[in-house]
C-alpha cells in the first residue's frame, strides 16, 4: 500500500519534471522563434531529412543496411540453433528473414516506401 503510494508519488514527480522540462523547452523555442522567424517554433516532425549529402555516402549507407539485415538474421538463426538444437532450420529461416528485413531497410532508407504505415492515425 505504502509502496504503491510512493510509486505513484514518484511517477507524479517524474511527469511533473517532464512537464517542467517541456515547458522550459517550449519557452526557449518561442524566444528563439522571435529571433529566427524562418524557423517554426513548434515543428511537427515533417519530412524525414535524407542523409544523402553525397552519392557515395548514400551508397555506403544502403549497402550497410542490407549487410546488417543479413548479419542480424544469421546471428539470430545461429543462436536459436545453438539453444534449440534445430540446426540447420533456424539458420535457413532467419537468414531468409534477415535478407527480407535488409531489403526493407534499404527501401526505407532510400525513401522508396514510406517509413511504416502510410495511413497515419491522428493521436
Amino acid at each position: 500500500m505504502a509502496d504503491d503510494a510512493r510509486d505513484k508519488a514518484d511517477r507524479d514527480q517524474a511527469t511533473a519534471d517532464e512537464a517542467a522540462l517541456s515547458a522550459r523547452l517550449r519557452d526557449l523555442g518561442e524566444r528563439l522563434g522571435r529571433h529566427h522567424p524562418d524557423r517554426p517554433s513548434d515543428g511537427e516532425p515533417g519530412q524525414r531529412p535524407s542523409a544523402d549529402a553525397s552519392a557515395m555516402a548514400r551508397g555506403f549507407r544502403l549497402s550497410t543496411e542490407l549487410v546488417a539485415g543479413v548479419l542480424a538474421g544469421a546471428g539470430i538463426g545461429w543462436l536459436l540453433d545453438r539453444w534449440l538444437g534445430s540446426s540447420p532450420l533456424g539458420m535457413i529461416v532467419f537468414l531468409l528473414l534477415g535478407f527480407v528485413a535488409g531489403v526493407l531497410n534499404v527501401m526505407r532508407s532510400a525513401g522508396v516506401i514510406p517509413t511504416n504505415t502510410p495511413a497515419r492515425p491522428k493521436d
Partner: protein, 248 residues
C-alpha cells in the same frame, strides 16, 4: 608498409585486472582523451568571452550547436530536443575523433568496431528504454504497422523485429567500415609511392600518379570524417523519433 599496422592497440600502462582481462590505458584511450580535451576547449574555452559578435572559434562552437539542433529538430521534432545533449555529444565526439585520426601518426579510435558498436548500442538501449518508459506497451506498435491483413501479421511483425534488431549493426558497421576502408586506402596508395621510387628516376616520375591520388583521397577522407559523424547523428535522431512517436 603494412597497411593494417596503424590500427594496432598498444598498452601504455595497466591499471589492473578484472578476471583474466587486463584493464589498460591504450593509445585508443589516449586519443579519446585528446578528442575530449579538444571538444572541451572548443565548447568552454572558445566561448568563454561570450562576445556578442563572435570570434573565429566562438563561431565554430555556435555553428556546431545550431547545426546539431536543427538536425535534431527537423527529424525528431521539438520533443526530441530533450535528447540534444546525447546527440550533440555523439556528433562532436565522433567528428573530433575522425578528424584527429586524419593527422599523420595519430590513431583513429572509430576504426575499431568495438568503439562504434558500443556507441550504437548506447543509442539502441536508450531508444528501447525510453520507448517503453514513455509509451508503455504502445511501443510495440512500432513492429505492427496498421492496415496489414491479419493473416500477414505474424510474418510482418517478425520482419519488422529483424529490421529493428539490425539497426545497431548497420549503425556501427557504417562508421567503422568507412573509417577503416579510408585509412587502408590511404596507406596502400602511399605505399605505392615508395615502391615505385625504388625503380630510380622513372619510378619517381611514375609515382606522381599515386601521390596525386593520396592527395585526393585525403581530401575525400576529410569529407567522409564529417559526413559519417553527421550520418551517425541523424540516424540517432531518426531512431529517437521512433521511440518518441512509435506507430507511425
Amino acid at each position: 608498409m603494412d597497411p593494417i599496422h596503424q590500427f594496432q592497440i598498444k598498452n601504455f600502462f595497466t591499471f589492473g585486472k578484472i578476471g583474466a582481462a587486463e584493464i589498460a590505458f591504450t593509445n585508443s584511450a589516449l586519443f579519446m582523451l585528446i578528442a575530449l580535451a579538444v571538444i572541451t576547449w572548443l565548447m568552454i574555452g572558445a566561448t568563454a568571452s561570450r562576445a556578442l559578435v563572435p570570434g573565429r572559434m566562438q563561431s565554430i562552437a555556435e555553428i556546431s550547436y545550431e547545426f546539431v539542433a536543427n538536425t535534431l529538430r527537423s527529424s525528431a521534432g521539438s520533443e526530441g530536443m530533450k535528447f540534444f545533449p546525447l546527440v550533440f555529444s555523439l556528433f562532436m565526439f565522433i567528428l573530433a575523433v575522425n578528424v584527429i585520426g586524419l593527422i599523420p601518426y595519430t590513431f583513429t579510435v572509430t576504426s575499431h568496431i568495438i568503439v562504434t558498436a558500443s556507441l550504437a548500442l548506447l543509442v539502441f538501449t536508450i531508444v528501447i528504454v525510453y520507448g517503453f518508459w514513455k509509451n508503455g506497451l504502445r511501443f510495440f506498435k512500432l513492429f505492427a504497422p496498421s492496415g496489414i491483413p491479419i493473416y500477414l501479421m505474424p510474418l510482418i511483425v517478425l520482419i519488422e523485429v529483424m529490421s529493428f534488431l539490425s539497426r545497431p549493426l548497420s549503425h556501427s558497421l557504417r562508421l567503422f567500415a568507412n573509417m577503416l576502408a579510408g585509412h587502408i586506402t590511404l596507406k596502400v596508395f602511399a605505399g605505392f609511392i615508395t615502391m615505385l621510387g625504388a625503380f630510380g628516376f622513372f619510378g619517381w616520375l611514375g609515382a606522381i600518379v599515386p601521390f596525386a591520388l593520396v592527395v585526393a583521397v585525403t581530401a575525400l577522407e576529410f569529407l567522409v570524417a564529417f559526413l559519417q559523424a553527421y550520418v551517425f547523428a541523424i540516424l540517432t535522431c531518426i531512431y529517437l523519433n521512433d521511440a518518441i512517436h512509435p506507430g507511425h
